[in-house]
Amino acid sequence: MNHWIIAPLVLPLVAGMLSLLLVARPGLQRALSVGATAGLLPVTLLLLCFAGNGEFGVYPLGNWPAPFGIVLVLDRLTALMLLLTAVLALLVLLHAVNGDDRRGRDFHVLFQLQLLGINGAFLTGDLFNLFVFFEILLIASYGLALHGGGAERTRASLHYVVLNLIGSALFLIAVGTLYAAAGTLNMADLAVKVAAAPPENAGLLRAAALLLLAVFGLKAALLPLHLWLPALYGHATAPVAALFAIMTKVGVYAILRSYTLIFPADGAGSDVGQWLLPLALLTLAAGAVGVLGSQRLRVLVAYLVVVSVGTLLAGIGLFNSGGIGAALYYLPHTTLVSAGLFLLADLIARQRGSHGDDFVLGPPLAQPTRLGVLFFLGAVAAAGLPPLSGFLGKLLLLQAVAPAQAGWLWSIVLIGSLAGLIALSRAGSRIFWKTAGDRAVAGQAPLTHLAPAAVLLAMSIAMTVFAAPLIRYTEATAAQLLAPQQYINAVLGAQP
């Protein structure tokens, strides 16, 4: 019995609640929060090693066998997402403890519970339990999005909250329909029951599948459900925006999981099989337009997130091992890099005084070289230029589709890169080069404040150097996802 599987949930839950008890002791609260987040690293690494050799970890909560009890399932995909979350969370938190965490109440509590929700969504093997974890990560994200207050944040958050409340309602309708038609909630069991469903239930099942796409699409910011994202990410406190880089990926994860396991694209999920790719490409295009049109660095990065969602879902939408493998390599890259850029944008804004991160004539930065190098690194990675991981990811994606029908995907992905290139070079030139006056208006950022962003962006280099093993892992993951029978056997076969 491998109790480690549930550690990524218990750790943040307990840490969050304890730090709620420690409201009066902010220092201790910080230490606890950082400690717990750091603790996630070895745990998730351990789980990755476990899942790395193709095994499935099945954890029957309450010792009830699937499909009756709730099970946590650890496979390659889940392990990857958990590790990514842990790395991201730790670095973001290290940035936050430079002061952002004191700009509102209970930051660390919300942060930990946000992690609980995210990890839970990755781990659970039960559809309704997935709903519960979505609610946890959503309510926590509401709190975090509002962290720091202010009119813009409040407005963006209000929209975000209302939309997601509607989304939750739709989620429940979808779950209900699915239960009414298949009579179970465990994902593996659902896969079996859906595949064996009588034809007269097809209508209900298709409706459920599409409703889920709408719900997950809202989380992942799939066009036309992406409109809430730029305002929210563009105005959230820097560490929050950086952490949210993983939130859209939760939606992507849910889509990938559902339409490889429960509704295989070549089976019950045929609608999604047809729709996902075009929608993803449209998202990519809309994001690229947004990138070109943005007039603030953070908003630009927010649109880069939209672009990345489009790219990821385009890869997944191919529903072949090449595409999914490419997406899975691109996913950590884009998450870490966009998070790094959000933090960097914050550092830049602090050094430009009242001009913030607007693309306007501003004072020179206090640390032009350091921040400049970081920005260049991030820009190259984000625009998908050689030699960094962004390029490799896009290369894999372009190779995953046969040239005969590659037209749309290739041109949109490549033109998207060009848009990023133009916009980012403009942004860099405006912020770092086109400066007024020769004296910096703000002090320098200490190393502790620079380091997290630097490490996040440097991850792109690491992902390039260690591309070979990484891609081996992601391709194995794609293969595992495309052969769901293993998953089903592992879950339904596991008797406590």
Partner: protein, 933 residues
């Protein structure tokens, strides 16, 4: 291995000069030079083998999955470029040491220069398409950073961005082209590609592949109509212009043409595209160069035109033409680099590059003048200089061409015309700058010779021009042979590098070019006037920036139009998606909506309930603007919902729904206290109609779903729970057992949600300032001092009772309707009543309740209960229970599930109290602050 070092040394060495700069400028320069020399040393051994006639290959596995391994290969062509890159690089490093001013950050300069050098070497040595592309983009990036070296200057910034945008776009096209090529050939190895020429040319994808690859090559080599970035790249320091933008980087495009010549050439598209573009560029740029007043501008356009010439030579598509192309690559690199350096010296010494000011420098800097004049003559194609040889080969090739049939005369004519212009602008460079009267108010006066070492590179290059020009057979021949062989991927045709072929037609063309050029230049004043009259200044740069700004504005407008910050639109889109998701399968699927199961008859009471519920819901909508009434209508809906739960055998739900209902309504009333009591009428009839339609659609869809599921047979895993509830969960109330045991994890999550909600709300209410609405409503009991005495007494008496009830509900929960959640709500409601009746102060004087700890404790207890099962090595939340005999209560059951339920109870109490009490405080504060005013 050496090949790899040749590339890696500069790439990694790029970090050193910036570090070395703290030991002085010379230190930095020497580091750069040393690294270049080292690379040259490593290149020596491969070079010798290559010259011995055997190409050198090296391979390291890196990314087989992406088809990305490291394949290096040095053949003749690569060798030629390696020599150019390293040789000229060395000279440029020396030159720049004296060119750069004290205040220029020299470390950065050399670092970037080495970075570029490494990338360029990578292009030359790559034996793998994708790997070549990686280096290709790297050169674009380093060129971007070098052009913007003086980034305080707007022209530098803009020139850099323009260059990056154009070459970057080309690079992306090239990527697509390479992917196609790799797909056709089945390998990205260039050697394989070269062997597969026929396969490629026959392939249906040949044309798109060719187009994409040419797009890459033409943008990089500044071919018409993508040429305009190059003149603006001249904002870079002159060493950069000499190195990147004349000798090496812009040659990458023609290098690519040469590299893939065996694979892609030999077709009509190739001939017309490459030849046509080359010819157009050659003529257009040669003509434009003549009218530049900026020294570097003239050189830039002449570079473009020479690149066009080389492109045209490869386009002509005969072996000899290819040889001539390679030859001209060498020659152009030597004389143009030296010319740029000379221009840099003049700029450096006079402080301007405007040829209308710079005149008669002969008597101030004769040495430099001599060098410059020799180089310029080479550019013009004067005999005894290298330019002459390749140009004559070019003329000869234009003559042999018959592909154009009757129009074959066009090409030689055009070539000669281009020659005329070339001579003319070379003449201008010489005469205008070094003679032609006296200099006109130069920023630096009088100009004088530059530092000794600044001239050495120029001298070396000019010497090369002469040597190659006079003794081609003994100098350049072997290299040219080797390179040409590599380009042709086969035997090199016989050609002679003699200076004198007798009085041939090509020679005649050269003479025409020379005399014509001189004549043209002598008439320059009229010509300039004519030019200004006929061709009004078309500034491609301005057009480019207008285009870019247009695109960005358009993008901004589009984004704004789509994402207008309107909540209503976003919500409508989401609901529309939901509608589509439901409607498409149900209506489009061709599956019957209803199923076989017959519907049950309905009784009057149920029908009445349904009618009441619908009526109440509709009234909520109708009265939405009279908000208090709307809340009442809403609460009616809630009540009927709980009745529905009772009606269809779900007592637990009914209880829960009821208690939640109470709290929610209280909450809404309190909230209303701060919101306008009346909503304005704003949405237009049109919008209302649209919304109603959408709403009806979604509602109908959900109704259909419900109908669909009601009428379908139904098999679930439910029985398992009923059977195992007592035996496995120790409770008769299956719902409760599911909540605390089978699916206890959901409940843990659920109370966590509650806890987070409370925390978030607490943060929201914290230092929230709200003005009191003029009208008052629902919140009245909170506002003033008037506490209805009866109610106060009543609640104080009720409170213990309510607590008792909640304990009872709690304990029976496991076996009969009830449980921690409901008990918690009952407690909370009792306490709230207390608040309402007696006011905050009274209540809080009596209990000092800290709600945060209660919440935390609740969740932690639940979690700890779950973790407890680890002690018995059971999974999280495994329950245990036993029956105990208590003296009074009799047979009594105790289950860990109850501990879990206790956690639920505490959390619920804490959460509800936290929310309502703080909202209450808020009302009081506002009441206070209102009285204060």
């Amino acid at each position: 291995m050496n090949l790899l070092f040749v590339i890696l040394l500069p790439l990694l060495g790029a970090l050193l000069p910036p570090l070395a700069i703290r030991f002085g400028r010379s230190a930095s320069a020497w580091t750069a030079a040393a690294i270049t020399l080292a690379a040259l040393l490593f290149a020596l051994e491969p070079l010798t083998t290559v010259f011995a006639g055997t190409p050198l290959e090296a391979h390291w596995a890196w990314l087989p999955q992406a088809g990305l391994d490291i394949h290096l290969r040095m053949d003749g062509l690569a060798a030629l470029f390696v020599l150019l890159i390293l040789g000229i690089g060395l000279l440029v490093i020396l030159y720049a040491r004296y060119y750069l001013a004290e205040r220029d950050p020299m470390g950065r300069f050399y670092g970037l220069l080495l970075l570029f050098m490494g990338a360029m070497l990578g292009i030359a040595l790559s034996d793998h398409l994708l790997q070549l592309l990686v280096f290709w983009e790297l050169t674009s990036l380093s060129s971007f950073l070098l052009i913007s070296y003086w980034h305080h200057r707007s022209d530098a910034r803009r020139g850099a961005r323009m260059a990056l945008a154009i070459t970057g776009a080309g690079g992306l096209a090239l990527l697509a082209g390479f992917l196609l090529l790799g797909h056709i050939v089945g390998s990205y190895r260039i050697v394989d590609v070269l062997d597969a020429g026929d396969l490629i040319r026959a392939h249906p994808l040949y044309l798109p592949t060719l187009l994409l690859i040419l797009l890459g090559a033409f943008t990089k080599s500044a071919q018409f109509p993508f040429h305009f970035w190059l003149p603006h790249a001249m904002a870079a320091p002159t060493p950069v212009s000499a190195y990147l933008h004349s000798a090496t980087m812009v040659k990458a495009g023609v290098f690519l043409l040469a590299r893939l010549y065996p694979a892609l050439s030999g077709t009509d598209p190739w001939f017309f595209l490459v030849g046509g573009i080359g010819l157009a560029t050659l003529l257009f740029a040669a003509y434009t160069a003549l009218f530049q007043h900026d020294l570097k501008g003239l050189l830039a356009y002449s570079t473009i035109s020479h690149l066009g010439l080389i492109t045209l030579l490869f386009g002509i598509d005969t072996p000899l033409a290819a040889v001539a192309g390679v030859f001209h690559i060498i020659n152009h690199a030597t004389f143009k680099a030296s010319l740029f350096m000379a221009a840099g010296i003049i700029d450096h010494e006079t402080g301007t590059r405007d040829m209308r000011l710079i005149n008669g420098l002969w008597k101030y800097m004769p040495h430099t003048a001599t060098l410059a004049m020799v180089a310029a003559s080479a550019m013009a194609g004067v005999p005894l200089l290298n330019g002459f040889l390749s140009k004559e080969m070019f003329f000869a090739e234009t003559l042999h061409l018959s592909a154009l049939g009757a129009l074959s005369w066009i090409l030689p004519a055009a070539a000669t015309l281009a020659g005329v212009f070339a001579v003319a602008y070379s003449a201008r460079f010489i005469h205008d700058v070094f003679f032609n009267g006296e200099p006109i108010d130069l920023p630096k006066y009088p100009p004088h010779e530059p530092p000794r070492y600044m001239k050495i590179p120029v001298e070396i290059l000019v010497t090369l021009c002469l040597l190659v020009g006079i003794l081609p057979a003994f100098t350049v021949a072997p290299l040219l042979d080797l390179a040409a062989g590599a380009v042709l991927h086969g035997p090199v045709p016989a050609y002679s590098l003699a200076i004198w072929h007798g009085f041939t037609l090509p020679f005649a063309m050269s003479l025409v070019a020379l005399t014509g050029g001189i004549a043209l230049y002598s008439q320059r004043h009229r010509l300039f006037a004519l030019h200004d009259r006929v061709f009004p200044e078309v500034d491609a740069r301005a057009l480019f920036w207008i285009a870019i700004e247009r695109v960005m504005d358009a993008a901004h407008a589009m984004t704004r139009a789509l994402e207008n910050g309107s909540q209503q639109r976003y919500a409508a889109l989401l609901l529309l998606a939901a509608l589509a998701a439901i409607a498409l399968p149900l209506l489009g699927g061709g599956v019957p909506l209803g199923g076989p199961v017959p519907a049950a008859p309905i009784d009057a009471l149920t029908l009445l309930g349904a009618l009441v519920m619908m009526a109440a819901a509709i009234l909520t909508v109708v009265w939405q603007r009279r908000r208090l009434v709307a809340v009442v209508a809403l609460s009616v809906v809630g009540l009927v919902v709980s009745l529905a739960f009772v009606r269809w055998s779900a007592p637990d739900l009914a209880l829960t729904q009821l208690s939640v209902e109470v709290v929610t309504i209280v909450l809404l009333l309190l909230a209303l206290y701060f919101l306008p009591q009346q909503g304005p009428a704003e949405s237009s009839p049109l919008r209302r109609g649209r919304d109603l339609l959408l709403a009806a659609g979604v509602g109908g869809g959900v109704g259909l779903l419900a109908w669909g599921m009601f009428t379908r047979p139904y098999a679930t895993i439910a029985n398992y729970y009923v059977e195992n509830s007592l035996s496995g969960g120790g409770g008769a109330n299956v719902v409760n057992v599911i909540l605390v045991d089978f699916r206890g994890f959901d409940t843990l999550g659920e109370i966590t949600v509650l806890a987070i909600a409370a925390i978030g709300i607490y943060a929201l209410l914290n230092n929230l300032r709200l003005d009191m609405p003029a009208t008052d409503a629902g919140g009245r009991p909170w506002s003033g001092e008037r506490y209805p005495l009866v109610l106060a007494q009543l609640t104080r008496f009720l409170l213990p009772l309510a607590l008792l009830v909640s304990v009872y509900l709690f304990l029976r929960g496991h076996n009969a309707p009830g449980g921690g959640f409901i008990a918690g709500l009952v407690t909370a409601v009792a306490l709230i009543l207390q608040y309402m009746a007696s006011g905050i102060d009274w209540t809080q004087q009596r209990w000092r309740l800290q709600y945060h700890p209660i919440i935390a404790a609740g969740v932690l207890i639940a979690a700890a209960t779950g973790a407890g099962s680890w002690l018995f090595d059971r999974p999280f939340l495994t329950s245990a229970f036993g029956h105990f005999h208590l003296p009074l209560a009799g047979e009594f059951e105790l289950a860990t599930a109850m501990l879990f339920d206790l956690g639920v109870y505490l959390t619920v109490v804490g959460v509800v109290m936290l929310i309502l009490a703080n909202l209450g405080k808020l009302t009081q504060r506002c009441a206070a602050c209102k009285e204060g005013e």
